[in-house]
Every structure is written in C-alpha cells, then in structure tokens.
Symmetry: C2
Subunit: 277 residues, 2 copies
Amino acid sequence: MSVDALPTRPVFYVSDGTGITAETVGHSLLTQFSGFNFITDRLSFVDDPAKTEAACERIVLAAERYQVRPIVISSCVDVSRTARLRQSGALVIDVMAPFLATLEAELDAKHMARVGQAHGIVDFERYHRRINAMNFALTHDDGVAINYDDADVILVAVSRAGKTPTCIYLALHYGIRAANYPLTDEDLEHDRLPPRLRPYRNKLFGLTIDPEKLAQVRQERRPNSRYASLETCRREVMAAETMLRMERIPTLSTTHTSIEEISSKVMTTLDLNRGML
Amino acid sequence: MSVDALPTRPVFYVSDGTGITAETVGHSLLTQFSGFNFITDRLSFVDDPAKTEAACERIVLAAERYQVRPIVISSCVDVSRTARLRQSGALVIDVMAPFLATLEAELDAKHMARVGQAHGIVDFERYHRRINAMNFALTHDDGVAINYDDADVILVAVSRAGKTPTCIYLALHYGIRAANYPLTDEDLEHDRLPPRLRPYRNKLFGLTIDPEKLAQVRQERRPNSRYASLETCRREVMAAETMLRMERIPTLSTTHTSIEEISSKVMTTLDLNRGML
C-alpha cells in the first residue's frame, strides 16, 4: 500500500526552544506506529503569546484540512503555553511536565522553568570542546594527519564504508576526537595492521560493509570506475575483514546500521563514556 | 559553589537501542534543575536479559557508592525490561510507555514494540539523502564550490563565525544541503552582496558574532596574527553587519547561540520544513 493510501494524521512538534527534544521523542513514538501517513511540522521558538496564537491557528487549519484531530508533541517549559495549545482541540502530549513533577518530588527541588536550557549554550567549555572535536574530525579525515596521539578513536575501513559521517557525529554530539584511516591498496596486501596504526591499537575500531552496498555507494561517486566495481569492492572488503579479525580489532558492519547506532556502538565498545553536548 | 560541593546524583540513560531518545529527554529534564551534580552514564543496546541484569548491577553499585537513589531514564521499548530496572530500587522514568498508551488510544492502533526503530536505518532513501547532504556540506565549505544551484541554504559570514558546524548539523540531521560563503576582505570593502551570491538571494542567511568572541576563537587558531586581532575582528564584523543589513539578509548572532539553535532559526526563517532524519 502506498503512503498516500494510508490514513493521514498531522503532527506538530511545538517548543519554546529549538524543538529538538519534542521532535526526538515524537519521532521515536511515531516510528512505533505503522499504517499511518504522519505529516509533521516543527514549530520552534514559540516563546510569546502571539507566537502561541499563530501556532494554534496552524493546528486548527490542519484539523480542517485533513478532517482529523492533529497530534501536538510539546516540550514547552511554560505550562500555560501547553494549556493554550490544548484549547486548539488537538491531542497534546507534553513530554516534559509529567517527568518534571516526578523529578521535583524525588529531588525535593523546584525546576527552573527557564527556556532554552537543553540546547542553548550554557557552558562555553563544552561548546569549545565540541567545535574543537569537529575541527579535529575534519582535519584528521581520510588519513591526512600524520599523528593520532590526540585521537580518542580511529575508525579503520576501506573507502566509503561510513567513516567520515561517524567521525563527525561523534565530534558534534559528544566532543569525541575521532580520526579515520582509510585502508589503501598497499595496506590490504598484508594481513597485519598498517605500521602507522600499530601504536594506537586500543583506539582502533573497524567498520565493514556488504560489498554490494559498497559498490552502490561508490558507483554514485565515480560511476563505472574500477574503484566502484563489485569485484574491487569484494576484494577490498574481504581483505579488510581478514586483517581486522586477525588483529582482533572490534568491527561493526555499517550495512544496516545508522550513524547513531555506529556511534553508540563505538562509544560502548571503547568505553568512551561521554555525555551528549 | 563548586560542582563538587553540590549533592551528587547518579543518572543512567538506559535503552535497548542507541539511547539517544533517553539521553535527549533526560538532558532536557536535568538542565531544569540547578544545584545538583548529576553523574550520567549511558547504557545502550540493553536488549537481552543478561544485559538487563548487568545494567541493574551497575545501578545498584552506584546507589551504594553515592549513598543515594539513582535516577534511571529509560526508553526501552520492552516494558518487562523497564519493570526489571525498577526492581533495582532506582527511580525509573519511562519516557516512552505513557505516551505510547495515549497514542494507541488516539490512533486506535497497537504500537509495534520493535526495538531500534527511531535511530536505526529504516529508509535507505532517507539515509542517502543524509549522506549526500553531508558530502555537499563538506565540498561546499568555505566558498570552494563555484555553483550554489543545488544548495538549500547558503550561510554568509566572516571566517570563524560558526558557518561550518551549522552546515554540517543541518546536513546530518535534516538532510539539508547547506553551503557556506566566507566574506573576503575584498567583499567587505563593498556594502553590496558579493556578485556570486546575488542570484541566490532567497537562500542566504547571515551569521554574525561579537568581535571579542571572534578574536578569542581566531586566537586559538592563529595566535597573535593580524587575522586574530581585535581590531581586524571589529572591522570585519562591522562591515559584514552593514552589508547584511543593507541587503536585508536575515541574520543571527552566534555569540550566545548553540549550533542547534542556529540550525532551528535558519530552518524557521527560510521555511525549510524538513523532518529529523
């Protein structure tokens, strides 16, 4: 059945901040329900009465247009805003309030009700760690850098197996200095770690990928090249997997794995316990 | 009061998937409470009974070590896992179950109770859009690319004002093709848009920054250079702000703004309504 044939349901992520919390929870919730065509809309920085009224208008319009009750996922810190949203007639899910009450009881403390705490700059040191890690990832991409002393992790894989996005994700969200090393043809002729990586054994994490998928990805980059041929991909992946196994480097296949999952596995495996920035 | 003098409270983000949802909500909740030293730990991929037991052990150990009840933020899809976590004695906040029940009633449908839906690959097309956007951001960084036809947005600013991290964030999380254009000395001599940008007026978004902060950031990159001097930074920022104002390009100061906030403002302003990938 095509998506268009499914029952449509408008969903609004509403927040007085960025809306990232609302959308993250909302996305998790919606992916648990198949069989619906959810039409999502993010209303960020709804932080005064006029913007709240404008948000309510959009919600009411969606109800009329789709002839169904909209769903609002709200992470507004100000409960009066959420109360106003409820008057729109939508089903309003407040992803903060119930837990804030629970935590207030547990901690015997009142919450601050201050907007923009979660995804605003509250800590310059953290912000700099993040930007520095990102610059590290960009300058230590594709084996360009000579020295891995400052790296927290070095991802090892053949070209186009998912190293760069993972490095950038780890830097941006966790401030982890992630370098990557692309295995060259010369490296792949040996069953041992490339000499440059040997001093950093504890920081290594291997990525692998189905040769068919790899060929597809490389094909987009350099169509009909030897580099993108299935034969080349098969040979490279097999050689890389053999080397990684013999050297006992923890390795993950990226074929059916998202960047978030790869990043989480890397942190869990190498015991890099960093909080989200 | 130093952080060490604050009452300590161990917090665990537990998930049978990546734990990103649990940590995002948990982080939002905790930032609403000042006056505590929260010690956070992420337990990802807790997806079988043995890992659940291991998680409970860590929670019990933390309770003994800190002599206080730990807080568990769980996004486990399997409710039996959450029930077992409760037996550890911790305060368990389940950030999914209450809302899933509400949505089941509203949608008149059962949720799938399948793990790893939110942050796993469920849609190859979306995944490719994300990777392609990221490659676009990396190859259209710092004005290297000649052509902006395919860009969804072009960030315009002086060097080191926050363009690159924002472009990468927009690509990684929303699949937005974000290019950036660094204003050169020559550009700054004129009060008009650089000729290369004029055909793309609707895609432009300006970033600015306090000259003091800019000097500090540049100082880290090239210490004691003319580039990093406060005088240079003041002159560049003033010229850039004048030009952006005269050309009526929407502009945001990044001085006290996080990458998430800048990204949200860009999407809201240019009406780029993309769902999170």
